[in-house]
Symmetry: C2
Subunit: 255 residues, 2 copies
């Protein structure tokens, strides 16, 4: 039997629904000696792992980001160097909004072999499952994915530039910033653009509201939408079956 | 035994690697009576289907887009109304750059039940597998996905706006337009920004080049990069292990 080598595999767990994980991700979990997993990972997925595999929760605590990230980097190296296959299981895709690149780079600096398994990002899957196409002929030919909250807790300046473009804008981590987002679009005179907020997308307790920039704040409050949520801003939101049928109804009544 | 109802499921086949398909997608293929599949779908995935299932290639021919799309919409309805479960298997995610929404809307107008299974988009998976993070702390906090070629064959105006932003820009269908893309960035004085072009991403014959706006055209020509390819423009490209090691070496020599 060959002796095992230190290895790190960064694995995307997908957007929440445990069936939206890939075959390649399952095979990585099956072969793991140690699994370090995040808060957004569906714990059902850990059942694919060997019984003797060590499963460690490394979910981040608010306000302690950089410290904890250093600790995670060190844990990966510590376990891998004992000739283990370490799987770092992250929500969505492991290389976007997840500091996966830092983990890979740190491990490689110790000569540890690394691999990556892409995952389905909630930025795409959550609108897709809600029948909202991020692109559509004649409506939008691009989409821009932005995290609302930067490391310093300020709102991202990219949202201001995005509000001037014709791209569909997908905002993550934005529920607490919805009033600021609305204000940015209103300053562009875009109060009538479609907005969807989808909480717990792809999971059993998914909840959503549809509206426009001018109406979404009140609707989100009425529906008590919380985190984690995906916000979609753009005319494509009006292709959602409920808005489409509403507008057909409107035409029937008035034309 | 219950009689079957007409049903359409739009299924994302992922970016090419047949292991980058989800469990949910496999289950949909297994239960299909009819599968309509595109050119970018890996044909190995058809082996999950029942032996008696009808598999129909509906890849689009250049220049005949709208006609063929109408025919696809009609085929879906025709087969579904014979009480079949029709699976529409599309490369990547079925609701972005794929006219999936039009297919769903058409089927729903005939009262056909519809469902969607998200897939991994090559826009994210191809850079991720190349160790290029689309977002990274201190480098980029957003990414913008654009198709270079619009329905009228002109280059998308969104690329011009994107070149003025700090977003990582992911361009699909852009290999033939690389000189125009380079010119747009050079006009912004951004000749030194990193660029990667990855052809046949996630497949066995994957091929890529790394450079900057100023150097990429020549490098792509030397490497004979063709289609289909994903282009990434942004400073995050310099986090690719090859560029990172080159820049560390540079520092070692000169600092």
């Amino acid at each position: 039997m060959l002796s095992k080598q230190p290895k790190l595999t960064l694995v995307g767990a997908g957007p929440g629904d445990p069936e939206l994980i890939t075959l390649k991700a399952i095979r990585a979990i099956e072969s793991a000696d140690v699994i370090l997993y995040d808060a957004l990972v569906n714990k059902v997925l850990l059942e694919y792992s060997a019984e003797k595999a060590l499963k460690i929760f490394v979910g981040k605590r608010a306000g302690l980001h950089s410290l904890i990230q250093t600790e995670i980097n060190e844990l990966i190296v510590e376990y891998a160097l004992k000739n283990n296959h370490v799987v770092r299981l992250k929500g969505g895709d492991p290389m976007i909004f997840g500091r996966g690149q830092e983990e890979i780079e740190h491990a490689q600096s110790y000569g540890i072999e690394t691999a990556i398994v892409p995952g389905i990002s909630s930025a795409i899957a959550v609108p897709t499952l809600q029948h909202i196409p991020l692109t559509a002929r004649g409506v939008s030919e691009s989409f821009w994915v932005i995290t609302a909250t930067k490391a310093n807790h300020e709102i991202s300046k990219d949202i201001e530039i995005a509000s001037q473009s014709s791209a569909t804008v997908v905002i993550l981590m934005g529920t607490q910033k919805i009033k600021e987002i609305v204000k940015i679009y209103q300053q562009q005179g875009k109060g009538n653009i479609g907005v969807a907020i989808i909480q717990n997308g792809t999971s059993e307790n998914e909840k959503y509201v549809l509206g426009t920039i001018d109406t979404i704040t009140e609707k989100a409050e009425d529906a008590q939408i919380g985190s984690p949520a995906v916000i979609v801003v753009g005319e494509v939101v009006k292709l959602h079956p409920k808005m489409l049928h509403a507008s057909n109804l409107y035409q029937t009544q008035w034309v």
